[in-house]
Amino acid sequence: MADLTTDFLGIKSPNPFWLASAPPTDKEYNVRRAFDAGWGGVVWKTLGAEGPPVVNVNGPRYGVIHGADRRVLGLNNIELITDRPLEVNLEEITRVKKDYPDHALIVSIMVPCEEQAWKDILPKVEATGADGIELNFGCPHGMSERGMGAAVGQVPEYIEMVTRWCKKYYSKPVIVKLTPNITDVRLPAAAARRGGADAVSLINTINSIVSVDLDSMSPEPSIDGKGTHGGYCGPAVKPIAMSMVSEIARAPATAGMPISGIGGVTTWRDAAEFITLGCGNVQVCTAAMTYGFKVVEEMISGLSQWMDEKGHTSIQDFMGAAVPNTTDWQYLNLNYVAKAVINQDDCISCGRCFAACEDTSHQAISMSDDRKFSVIDEECVACNLCVEVCPVENCITMVEQAAGTVDPRTGDTVKDAYANWTTHPNNPGAVAAE
């Protein structure tokens, strides 16, 4: 059976599934139960500075985008960092780490952007015996209004500065958690690296309003008739998170930097995909908040089965395997030609491919009187829309056209050679092929 253990920054974990810093990791009770349920690691819910704890709203904190059968597709929250006293959290962390030496226990921290604040808290965290810290530069709501969370994560100079302080006052690994609410995630990631960060984790939640009550005209979740943007997470954000992870994995300034992947990981497959894009592990929150801690059992069994089927004996075997294949548009092979092919045996004649292609794409599907749908190769640009709207998986496929054949749409012979936009004659900035 595949070995799921991971070594992330020297922190050992029985599997790559960590619970992200969030409500599930707010206290000893939950974290012990999470470890017992099989989670490999936990990032403890963000600690704030000593003093009066933060307060939360006393109304709804969550809003959700549901599928038809109430499947949670996206979750939004306006909860702040831990609202329990610092000392209580530190005592609990100490006890839990002592009892679970083989599980990863990371402490998330968010204190004001002043060196003294970090200098004060870091020795206390170090004393707990926890394996490392994660700097919360990501929360987009509430704390950011007070100059913390995403307010720091949106300014690379601050990230670098605070990271430096942390490396100065703390001896163990420092992970910088990044906000997606920026234009280019590579800049804060590079800043973290300059500051000495051992790793980055991403993404934190995305600014979001999930719904508006059309009677009260209040955004939701609504607190006494008013709403505010919250942080969006869950399955809906996975594509955004994976794109950002891939950017960091392949940018020269950050390539090779360990990454903890976060954002909509719901199944083993999601985790595997994040890992192929360069993540050393993944952090999960919404799936646990929706289904409970037990969901990790499926993640473990699924990842294990897939690794066995593929012959991967360790997470390292496929970590980053998709990074070399992640490129810029300009390097895509423009000589690659495909055509949609509809398998008539599988077709159930719903006509969705026809409606989509006819109304919104290239008029490349014909419909007969007896509801037979066929691709018109002369028009098909292989856009893939028909594949994606077809309710029958694999009924429509994209078939590569062999070199030497003629593409009936363009009349051109399909070339075997690779050629991209950089050398394309229509590109004013094209460089001659050497």
Binding site: A68, R70, I348, S349, G351, R352, P391
Partner: protein
């Protein structure tokens, strides 16, 4: 108290609770969340096969999408635009032979989108609000007579009233509704739905119903043609085919339609007498409805005897299975030969049949089945033709229900062509109304 084992024909075979349970909704209404989940299964097909299969051409993908987005009222409007009796059709349509049969998910998975139940969800939602979604157009000053307040007549009258004509419906029976009120199984129209639907339909205004008026009895086609600018006949099939076998006049032998009518009109089902051993002759929906309801009333043994094979049966496979699930025994390729008994029937003698060179005939092999009640359900016939040209045994029509006589239209079961279904009658009544309206206003 009697029981299913009590010999002969007897009332009170089951307790009130059992009867209430037996005659509740065949399909429970969908709750809103169930409806949302069921609606989500619809693929919103292009030029959807279900619409093509619907005799009234309801835009099914659209109304299902309207349900899925939380506007069942708009969905109901989509349905009623094409089929003003969409509420009843949601309950009685053989969807398994129409929209749901061709649903791509039926084809792909053997599990169609539950179109019938979704239609009921939408129409029930709007009707429960007590609102009628249509207003009448400005009066055209035209008057139209509709004969028969069944699905065809009501559909025709509603459309004409909506377009601005004044309509008078002549109905032979005490209540409007036709087969919806008198003919279909009780578990398909619970809580007096047929009557409530008629009230709701009439609330558009402009429609007067005169009950106790039967064509050929106290009104004539000539009178109507003289007094009104157009006449629509939706008289249905008032007669029944006679059972031509020895002993058919014995006590205990009755028409299935009368049994069903009595059941539908009964205020207390416990008072309805039913045999211990019931045999129903026939293979259509009436046979199924009579057999199943006999069983539900507490008959011990119920048998349907049909002269041809299963595939030739008028009732759908779904209805056959429904009957079987209720404990009704289905006998195929048999015909009644004689009723036996001293005064009242006690046994039915049945002869096996075979088809040779396209002709059905008895094989000579017989058997006797205990029967203290025999229902004949071998088809209904036109009881009056008003002197119009017939096609087969029904009123001949061309186009949108035009009969051989100018100014007279016909639709529903009495008219030739089309299936004898509620939904078909609704479509024919509606289309005739459009043609009448165009004719009257165009002066054609």
């Amino acid at each position: 108290m009697t029981s299913p084992m009590t010999p002969g024909i007897a009332a009170n075979r089951l307790s009130k609770d059992e009867l209430a349970q037996n005659f509740t909704d065949l399909h429970a209404p969908l709750q809103p969340h169930e409806a949302a989940v069921a609606a989500d299964r619809c693929y919103f097909c292009h030029d959807a096969p279900c619409v093509t299969a619907c005799p009234t051409d309801i835009d099914i993908p659209l109304f299902i999408r309207q349900i899925s987005t939380g506007t069942p009222e708009a969905a109901a409007k989509t349905i009623f635009d094409m089929n003003i009796l969409g509420g009843m059709c949601a309950r009685v349509c053989p969807t398994e032979d129409l929209c749901e049969q061709v649903c791509v998910r039926e084809v792909a998975e053997g599990k169609p989108v539950e179109i019938g139940r979704l239609q009921r969800h939408a129409t029930d939602t709007l009707m429960a609000q007590g609102k009628h979604p249509y207003a009448r157009a400005a009066s055209t000053g035209k008057t139209v007579a509709v004969v028969g307040a069944g699905p065809a007549g009501l559909s025709c009258a509603h459309r004409l009233a909506m377009l601005g004509s004044d309509v008078t419906i002549f109905e032979a029976r005490p209540k409007a509704g036709g087969l919806n009120e008198y003919g279909i199984a009780a578990y398909k129209s619970t809580n007096d739905f047929a009557a409530r639907e008629v009230d709701w339909l009439l609330s558009i205004g402009g429609i007067t119903i005169e009950t106790g008026k039967a064509l050929g009895d106290n009104i004539t086609l000539d009178d109507l043609a003289r007094d009104y600018e157009a006449v629509f006949l939706g008289v249905g099939l008032g007669g029944v085919n006679a059972l031509g076998c020895d002993g058919a006049d014995k006590d205990g032998v009755a028409d299935a339609v009368d049994f069903i009518e009595n059941l539908r009109q009964a205020s207390d089902l416990a008072t309805l007498p039913v045999g211990r051993n019931v045999v129903v002759i026939g293979g259509g929906m009436t046979a199924i409805d009579a057999a199943v309801q006999s069983k539900l009333l507490g008959a011990e043994q119920v048998t349907i005897a049909y002269r041809r094979g299963r595939d030739a049966m008028g009732a759908s496979r779904y209805e056959q299975d429904l009957a079987a699930s209720q404990g009704v025994k289905l006998l195929f390729n048999v015909q009644p030969k004689a009723m036996h008994g001293d005064g009242a029937v006690t046994e039915i003698e049945i002869e096996y049949t075979a088809t040779n060179n396209g002709t059905l005939a008895g094989t000579g092999e017989t058997m006797r089945v205990p029967a203290d009640q025999v229902f004949s359900a071998i088809g209904q016939t036109l009881s009056t033709d008003g002197g119009l040209t017939l096609e087969g045994r029904k009123i001949a029509v061309t186009g949108a229900g035009r009969t051989s006589r100018d100014g007279i239209w016909a639709g529903g079961d009495c008219a030739a062509g089309g299936d004898d279904l509620t939904v078909t009658a609704v479509a024919e009544g509606r289309d005739a109304a459009m043609d009448i309206h165009a004719t009257l206003l165009g002066g054609a």
